[in-house]
Subunit: 338 residues, 2 copies
DNA sequence: AGAGCCTATGTTATCGATGCCATATGTAAC
DNA sequence: GTTACATATGGCATCGATAACATAGGCTCT
């Protein structure tokens, strides 16, 4: 029975390599980790054996014995719509990869406390060494506190648990720049279609808008809240189209801006002749749709990367990293009768 | 020394739980995995101990001893631009999560053989039990063959290694539907702005277009190749704008379509009055830009989920899963003088 | 009542790499 | 010519869970 041809194709282990190379497993381990005290000659033999057997190390064993998983967890929203969020993902992955860390992604289908808890648990179970949370914590539960106490966590949204660190993202700046641009063109009032109130991003952009208006001695009109989607922009645009003296709108995202524009046009307003629109994100399409969108671009990729650096203790919390710049295109113009 | 207060806060292990509950580690293991033969009474004691100690299992140990990682690897392109791809990601994650699998994502910055090899290696090192490749294999190397021989792999692009299975995605259908729509409107010729030739998607959509034209007895004009980006659409649109008798264009993606439209308009052509445009994807913005885009929607989410099912042996290869449906909006119309 | 079989639980070996300590050279220092 | 110390390598315990086997009651069936 035992003498059968069967050899269940087990992956070769370090011991196998050691045997082939005529050294101990320990030496193989040292070689593969570039330990200093290994004879170049020996090293060569070991590497040859590795090559020959097609050896690849067993991650689980490595993690178990070293106690290090070299993995970072990332929590993002599933729906791909939010441009800035996917840029964050790319930044996190790039920075983590560079530092030799893998990224385990937990997506949540929508903002929901239960889903959030489950995602964090999942990541904790996977033994991640750090967590980047790129969605708002709509409410912080005990369970979340427990996990973020045990595992270094950085939030990118401004919301936080007792122990999670927050990477400073000054979104007000974007709101200010956008509003300023409209005022500079001669508009006397600027309306705002904001993101959902749970998102600090949305709140900060709204604040920037308010402050900028206040500084100009203008009383801000009530903001209209959307959910980042083009459709929500469209619906709020329909509201704006019913208000006669609207000449300038600041939308909190490009996607909403396009919805607003559509509604305004359907309502008989021309953009930018009657109404100017600025938004935030600068998605690729912004320059190619009609009209090409004037929008504030921010470097979210960089803040994703910075979050990883912060987790790996190579950067400080509180630093403000997202820089904003205005791309002026064709959705804004001076008001008709200044 | 030893009597110090210090207790280095090691995570509690199964043994600790066992001690607290007054049972063996094995019983704890059984309880936590819902083994049938555990006394409800005992189970309760164990769960209480788990709760009390804040125990969470050690994934590495579990993987090492069971030989199962319960993780699936996913290779995608980093740049978020390709709508269909991110839908695939969501589908993969949802299906994997449902089956109790985690997803480890390897993103490649661009289509490059070296990067591809590295990503696969990374995933293999992590001990994934299956791999979903959602990008084209521009060239298959020995190393890729080796990895996909050892680990069940499904490709979603149609390209393949010797052992990877291919999930049948009939993209021709999309090309056919789009072209058919234009012909039905009365157009006598349909031009095509295709995706990059490395992508099977692009090739198949092109084929569908060609076949549909051929069936109507029309000689297809040379396709214009883009890279999925709005900008590439714009550049090819400039070419089209220089050709007098273009009345209908099929673009292989929504983003390119918007680029084409912009170029055509700048060239003095009106859309859809002078030129009709159909594309593929149905991104959220398609309905809100000007003009609202007529486009073919495909269910990529579903094919991502199907890829996972295939890996987990719950489905068959070769099955065609992506269904296409046309969303008629305002970028198409009958030709001016039929 | 003893064979046979479930149920509930414990014991022990094992997965594959690493940490720590031991050992065997070589070689510089006094 | 010891002491001393760096270099190169091996041995063994260990990480935490699981698989496989072992055992001890309790029950059914003939």
């Amino acid at each position: 029975m035992t003498g059968a041809t069967e050899r269940p194709a087990r992956q070769p282990s370090m011991t196998d390599v050691a045997r082939t190379a005529g050294v101990s497993a320990q030496t193989v381990s040292r070689t593969l980790r570039d330990s200093p005290n290994v004879n170049p000659e020996t090293k060569k033999r070991v590497l040859a054996a590795v090559e020959q057997l097609g050896y690849r190390f067993n991650n689980a064993a490595r993690v178990l014995s070293s106690g290090r998983s070299h993995t970072i967890g990332l929590v993002v929203l599933q729906s791909g719509g939010y441009y800035s969020r996917s840029a964050v993902t790319a930044g996190v992955e790039a920075a983590a990869g560079e530092a030799g860390y893998a990224v385990s992604i937990a997506t949540i289908a929508r903002l929901d406390t239960g889903l959030m808890e489950r995602s964090l648990s999942k990541l904790a179970d996977q033994g991640v060494e750090g967590i980047v949370i790129a969605v708002p914590l709509i409410s912080v539960t005990q369970k979340m506190e427990d996990i973020t106490r045990d595992i270094p966590t950085v939030t990118l949204d401004g919301s936080r648990t007792a122990s999670a660190r927050v990477l400073g993202i000054d979104q007000k700046e974007a709101g200010r720049i956008a509003t300023r641009h409209l005022l500079d063109l001669g508009h006397r009032q600027v309306w705002h279609v904001s993101g959902p109130d749970e998102w600090i991003e949305a709140r900060q952009r709204r604040q920037g808008w308010q402050e900028c208006l206040a500084a100009a001695g203008i009383q801000a009109p009530p903001p209209l809240e959307g959910d980042w989607s083009p459709d929500s922009g469209y619906r709020q645009g329909q509201v704006l189209a019913m208000i006669p003296d609207v000449t300038a709108v600041f939308a909190a995202s490009d996607e909403m801006a396009f919805g607003v524009i559509r509604a305004l046009r359907e309502g008989g307003r021309s953009v930018p002749a009657d109404v100017s629109i600025v938004s935030v994100d600068d998605i690729e399409l912004a320059a190619y749709c009609a009209p090409p969108l004037t929008t504030v671009r921010q470097d979210f990729y960089r803040s994703g990367a910075a979050a990883v650096a912060l987790l790996l203790r190579q950067a400080d919390a509180g630093e403000t990293l997202v820089t904003a710049s205005l791309s002026v295109r064709a959705s804004t113009a001076p008001p008709r009768s200044p």
